[in-house]
């Protein structure tokens, strides 16, 4: 079953409208909450008047920050960034003295209908004393800038360095130095389902039951317990069907905590579902780094060193996962697929009056890949070399694995040249160059972009966790064989579209030798799912799937012992293959796993062995996994309109072993489109005063079906030695590598005009402007 493109088990209910998303949950007596948010990016809260809201018909309760003091703790921040200047600023469910970003929750109103809650929320009177605001890292770090948090002068959340080798010497000895300022701009995850929660608290049983659009139900349960002082074993968090997340549904949010408070304070169940505008302003936003980097290279294109500064915009607060992104992902992954021996980086996180940033598909790795892939192309251009050849020369060779990078990571396995070779072959690179030359003679601008990547996944084993300021994120699984031989599998990951109900069943079916229809996969409910850390960071299959594999192995081991007794053989002589235990050399002396299960549970009479056929296993990975690949595209740029058309897009990816190739394809497509979106369409804009300008889908250009190309995919497989399945995961790869693939192509197209670099997104306006300026600089010629 592993390796089969099975149709998904999730689909029948989702296709017929029978999925259960959080906003679909109905409870008797359900109330609705509306959140009052700051319209100012930075202000003192002078007074909050809840009375008009409380008097509105249908209103059950209304609360502001002062009402929560002493009853709710600030949201816990577990991670500590290396070089963090002070204890992270408290994140309160409802702001008390000050608001620091437009959209920060200030009050919550609970009513018996959506309309009453919404109407009453507008009646809450908040008096603000506006303060000056800063939105860019440059403005926030400048002399005299308003300080967001008292303990963080200059708005510096953390500052740290990453050093490896001897960069200074490498730069002294370089034949050529190439430098570039690059921006990896801010985006929103924009999962199609806005955030929502339903919280029910029974004061007589002391039990809190909550449905959350979360990627991490156990984490959410733990946080709720700490926030409200509730016994953790009386808190139940359920992630029902969740409509996408891409990292943004990891944190427990202040507004969600405020809604939970409503349920606890009133004893009545309450639902909150974000409007899209709210979701834009309050869900963690992605990326937003500025890098000043330079690489040292030899004349033959070998890159020896990279150094510079990378500054990340943290937004107004540090959330649970924010701190790791730059120092734990971007900086260590900057060497990408290349054997660059010397690294010297300064890394800063800066607070600004914008929505807090957090993980968004790739979480720090797209930034690293973008910087390095642009720099490689710039080196190639500087030296007059083919960018494909420069990559080949710099790749970590296939015989050097496990490979320790200058940044302290150990890449598990990979064949980067094979991926690149396949990508250029599929694209028809030589033919594409020929077409490009012909097109140039006709005054048309075709461009070819190639980008390679290594994706850090399988986050994060206990050995690596400390370096990123994180707790260890292992996984556990329970495999329970029932009397009829049917199997239920329980895992601690929490899929939200990735098809785990199908792929994990495939894994268990393979290892237990049972039909895949006989395996049910359960996750997302803390009441039954074993402890785990959820789905993000390309971890579910490498870490969760591996825990599942280990639990299956334990079941098979126990099955052998029981089968040995049933077959009256020595356990060492019992083999297991495709669902049958048999005596080596006498295959007719056999029992199926179904027979063994029935015996183990119902007809048990085996001294020295416990009844039942189930097992739990935990997997603490010894390392990250490192998927890799190369994407290549052919674009045409219209100099008169600035429009970019992607004519062909080829993706070659190595995610180790594939469990379900059709699902892997889907992950690549979806990630690539988000990457293309960053390169060409999406841009989350604040004005200098902290006003969010792109606050709805009318302004923020999530691409539509006619704006993205057809993708040609191919795979190579270098299994990972890090886990029992050999899988690396693939969820984020497309979003990591597509932006530089596209940007490299556009810059390549415009090279004849002398254009060397353009910041994303390459909207028609930007491209057209760049073309005009380039032509003017050259005296108006084409």
């Amino acid at each position: 079953m592993i390796g089969a493109s099975l149709k998904r088990r999730e689909d029948p209910r989702l296709l017929t409208g029978r999925g259960l998303f959080t906003d679909d949950v109905k409870l008797p007596g359900l109330c609705y909450a509306a959140v009052v948010r700051s319209p100012y990016p930075h202000a003192r809260i002078v007074a909050v008047d809840l009375e008009p809201a409380r008097r509105h018909p249908g209103v059950v309760a209304a609360f502001a920050g002062a009402d929560l003091a002493g009853r709710v703790r600030p949201l816990p921040i577990v991670r500590r960034a290396p070089g963090q200047v002070a204890e992270p600023p408290a994140v309160l469910p409802l702001a008390v003295d000050r608001v620091r970003y437009q959209g920060e929750p200030v009050a919550v109103v609970m009513a018996t209908s959506r309309e009453a809650a919404s109407d009453a929320a507008e009646l809450v009177g908040v008096e603000y004393d506006p303060l000056p605001a800063v939105t860019s890292v440059e403005a926030a770090a400048a002399e005299g800038a308003p300080r967001l948090h008292d303990a963080f002068p200059g708005n510096v959340a953390f500052v740290t360095r990453l050093e490896g080798g001897d960069a200074e010497r490498a730069f002294r000895e370089a034949d050529v130095v190439v430098s570039q300022r690059m921006v990896d701009h801010r985006l929103v995850a924009c999962a199609m389902e806005p955030r929502a929660c339903v919280v029910q608290y029974d004061p007589f049983t002391g039990k809190l039951t909550a449905w959350f659009t979360t990627q991490r139900p156990h984490h959410t349960r733990w946080f709720l317990s700490r926030l409200f002082g509730l016994p953790e074993h009386r808190v139940r968090v359920i992630a029902p069907d969740v409509g996408g997340g891409f990292g943004s549904k990891g944190p427990l949010y202040p507004d969600e905590a405020a809604v939970a408070f409503c349920a606890i304070a009133t004893g009545r169940p309450v639902k909150w579902a974000a409007e899209r505008r709210e979701d834009f302003a309050s869900t963690v936003q992605g990326r937003d780094q500025v890098a000043h980097l330079e690489v040292a290279a030899r004349r033959d294109g070998t890159i020896t060193a990279v150094r510079g500064t990378i500054t990340a915009n943290m937004g107004a607060y540090l959330y649970a996962n924010t701190a790791a992104i730059l120092p734990g992902r971007t900086a260590p992954m900057l060497p990408n697929a290349y054997a660059i021996a010397h690294v010297s980086l300064e890394l800063r996180g800066i607070f600004t009056n914008t929505t807090p940033t957090g993980p968004y598909r790739g979480a720090g790795r797209p930034e690293a890949c973008y910087y390095m892939e642009r720099l490689v192309d710039l080196v190639a251009r500087e030296l007059g070399l083919d960018p494909v050849e420069v990559r080949r020369r710099n790749f970590v060779p296939p015989d050097r694995f496990p490979y320790e990078t200058a940044t302290g990571l150990v890449y598990d396995s990979g064949d980067y040249r094979a991926g690149l070779d396949k990508a250029v072959e599929l694209l028809g690179y030589e033919e594409a160059r020929r077409r490009q030359r012909e097109a140039r003679q006709e005054g048309r601008y075709l461009g070819i972009g190639v980008a390679s990547y290594v994706e850090l996944g399988g986050v994060v084993g206990s050995r690596q966790a400390a370096r990123e300021g994180s707790a260890a994120l292992w996984e556990s699984a329970v495999v329970r064989v029932l009397p009829t031989g049917a199997v239920t599998v329980f895992v601690g990951t929490c899929g939200h579209g990735q098809g785990h109900e199908t792929t994990f069943a495939q894994i268990a079916a393979d290892l237990l030798g049972v039909p895949v229809e006989d395996v049910a996969v359960v996750y997302g409910d803390t009441e039954v799912a074993p402890m785990g850390f959820g789905t993000f960071g390309t971890r579910s299959t490498p870490v969760g799937g591996s825990a599942l594999a280990l639990a299956c192995r334990k079941v098979v081991e126990k099955g052998k012992r029981i089968a040995a007794r049933l077959l009256e053989a020595a356990v060492e002589d019992v083999e297991f293959e495709r669902g049958r235990f048999f005596v080596r050399g006498s295959p007719q002396r056999a029992r199926t796993i179904q027979e063994v299960a029935q015996a183990a549970i119902l007809r048990f009479a085996l001294p020295g062995e416990e009844p039942g056929l189930e097992a739990q296993a935990v997997f603490d990975p010894p390392n990250y996994t490192f998927g890799s690949g190369t994407h290549a595209c052919l674009v045409e740029v219209d100099p008169e309109t600035g429009e970019v058309t992607i004519l062909r897009y080829v993706a070659v990816d190595d995610c180790g072993r594939l469990v379900n190739p059709l699902i892997v394809d889907g992950q690549i497509h979806g990630g690539v489109v988000q990457g293309i979106a960053q390169a060409l369409y999406e841009y989350l804009a604040y004005d200098d005063n902290g006003q969010l300008l792109t606050s709805s889908l009318n302004e923020y250009a999530v691409p539509r079906a006619h704006q993205v190309p057809v993708f040609e995919t191919a795979f190579i497989e270098t299994p990972s030695p890090v886990n029992p399945l050999g899988v690396k995961g693939v969820g984020e790869a497309g979003a990591i590598v597509a932006p530089p693939a596209v940007v490299n192509a556009v810059v390549d197209a415009l090279a004849p005009l002398g254009i060397r670099h353009l910041d994303m997104p390459l909207t028609p306006a930007r491209v057209w402007q760049a073309v005009r300026q380039a032509r003017a600089a050259r005296g108006g010629g084409a």
Partner: protein, 170 residues
């Protein structure tokens, strides 16, 4: 309050509603048909798409009172007698959905496409879906799913019938 009469998935309904009640809230909250989803507040995403008198409409942009007298089909009304509609089959075969949140809206939009254009090209499908956003799939498998359904419906015309209007109250 205003009285409306609508037929939804072949069943007649009669309710008194507030004039400002959106059709999508009527379907989800009053009728309990939660298969139609809400993904935005600017009519941009298409998650709420249903068929109103055979036309794909964004139910977040229609008031329930505007639908008075209309015949509505939601995602729940597509499968007949336990058999999936060819579009549902196509999306299943071709992995045309991941999280599933946008899927009902996309399928209902595709329903109208295949009614007016039984053999759409790739480009025609992509342009027809202009009003629908998907964040998970990258659209390619969606296009393949619609082409699969189109071919099934051309070769087996009975498979793609919308529910016949039934008499009687809810």
């Amino acid at each position: 309050m205003v009285r409306i009469r609508v037929t939804v998935n072949g069943t007649a309904h009669e309710h008194d509603v507030e004039p400002r009640l959106l059709l999508v809230h009527y379907l989800r909250d009053v009728l309990g048909l939660t298969g139609t989803h809400i993904g935005c507040d600017t009519s941009s995403c298409g998650c709420c798409t249903v068929l109103l008198d055979d036309h794909a409409v964004k139910s977040c942009t229609i008031l329930a009172v505007q639908a008075d007298g209309g015949r509505i089909t939601t995602i729940e009304g597509l499968a007949q007698d336990g058999r999936l509609h060819p579009l549902q089959e196509g999306f299943w075969e071709k992995h045309g959905l991941q999280c599933g949140f946008c899927t009902p809206g996309i399928i209902m939009t595709a329903c109208e496409l295949l009614r007016v254009n039984p053999d759409p090209t790739e480009e025609e499908i992509r342009h027809w879906l202009e009003g629908n956003l998907c964040r998970c799939t990258g659209y390619q498998h969606i296009v393949e799913a619609v082409r699969y359904a189109a071919e099934r419906m051309r070769s087996q015309p009975a498979a793609g019938q919308a529910p016949r209007a039934a008499g009687g109250a809810a």
